[in-house]
Subunit: 244 residues, 2 copies
DNA sequence: CGAACGAAAATTGTATACAATGTAGTATTC
DNA sequence: GAATACTACATTGTATACAATTTTCGTTCG
């Protein structure tokens, strides 16, 4: 859980107003991103408590920023907050996971359905480049990179549909299940399967086979929830729910 | 824009911990709700600035709560925040509105498609009761009540699908277009059309006519974006976009 | 020996003061 | 006379101190 200090040097030109790179107070957004990564990579387990002061010390900042970050993560559905008791990494039940993936599938299929064919060669090239990055990250075992390159690939793919709201909503649902990614990604064969799926998707895209692309998208979503639910049942038993 | 003071009396039993009625710091959530209502009812126009100090005075509280409320509304997509310049009521372009409604339609149709038929009589009764409240609010011209009773009707209807994530996502998208509701609701005939739609929906539900319910849901979503876009084009002209 | 009570510690929630930033209005210079 | 620099004001961002709440742990009583 080692984390480099934040904001050590605050002295910046102050006169540089090129665009608006930092929307939120910046610090809060960065902290949220770090915590999110920890959750994605399985470094923070479900139901683990997230204490404001600890995180403030860790990130070398005051509680205000951490507080904002936690609020943000709560809205994203990654952490759970109980009024006077604090925040913890959210644990999803198999039912919740199933529901989220059901909606995700519907939306991703919708996106694929409205993509305008044929897809421009430049877009295909871009997807191929992102796919190569993903494959390389897998080969090197760099899990954080695997996560981000996979994310970029899917954003580019669904970005082809042109409906910003749809893209945003798909992202939102994907974020909700970030916490369970590490379960499927623990199996190298699952990673490789994902890699091959991406290749098939690009192929289908190139020849404008919409139905095949839809089928691929559906299949591509199956392994993650299955792996999580299997692990969950093994941990807590099939019938009863542990209330710990 | 008259608003009653908030939190005047802070003295409460303090020993009452029945459930968790207030998730957020409560004050922030209340302020967010008030501002949201103002936007829904057209009392605050798109691009109107929301100044923290003004709102703090208005709600008789300090800036911290207002700040949180604005962050919340930003995430909901109702207000827009520029880093060091503050917040304003978000104005939606016709393109954005069209995109949002496209996704909404897909999701609402999905919800209707997975409702388990036949629907329990108690659920039908509940919908009828909510429909009556809606009709009554329209008859009395109580717009705020129209808004909330309409909301409750739809939540109950889509709640029948049983997928919590789907319900949540539908709500989310509905919230994004709260700001344009007042355009369609300005026409009394539109309100009446909505009322009749609700009656037809209940009827279709009672006899398990799924296809008809789907068609009704689709039609029900049409008027709002159309009214908004018409008003928008009349205001700004069809081709060019005002940059004011 | 266990359950209930109560004080202390840990943690979150709230308020305020201060600093940084952006905005506008005015004067000054070319 | 118009453009620019400068100053005063308005607004947001940040940090810290304080209050309220919950949790923990030791003690006492049944």
């Amino acid at each position: 859980m080692a984390t480099k200090p934040l904001k050590q040097v605050k002295s910046k030109p102050a006169k540089s107003r090129e665009a608006t790179p930092a929307r939120e107070p910046a610090a809060a957004a960065l902290i949220a991103k770090r915590i999110e990564e920890d959750i994605v990579l399985g470094r923070r387990h479900p139901r683990e408590r997230l204490i404001e002061q600890d995180l403030s010390d860790l990130f070398r900042t005051h509680r205000g920023d951490v507080r904002l970050a936690l609020f943000e993560l709560e809205k994203k559905g990654l952490v759970e907050r109980v009024p006077n008791r604090g925040a913890m990494v959210r644990g999803l039940t198999p039912e919740e996971v199933t529901e989220i993936y059901t909606v995700r599938e519907e939306l991703e299929v919708m996106a694929v359905r409205i993509i305008a064919f044929p897809v421009a060669p430049s877009d295909i090239s871009r997807l191929e480049e992102l796919q190569r990055q993903h494959a390389a990250a897998i080969a090197r075992g760099e899990m954080l990179n695997v996560f981000y390159s996979n994310l970029r690939f899917h954003q580019a793919l669904f970005g082809l549909c042109g409906n910003a709201c749809l893209i945003e909503t798909i992202d939102l649902l994907a974020q909700k299940v970030y916490g369970i990614r590490s379960y499927a990604n623990a199996f190298p064969e699952a990673l490789d399967r994902a890699r091959l799926d991406h290749l098939d998707m690009i192929k289908a895209l190139r020849v404008s086979h919409r139905d095949e692309l839809i089928e691929l998208s559906r299949r591509h979503l199956k392994p993650s929830p299955e792996a999580y639910i299997k692990a969950y049942e093994q941990r807590f038993g099939k019938a009863e729910h542990a209330t710990a």
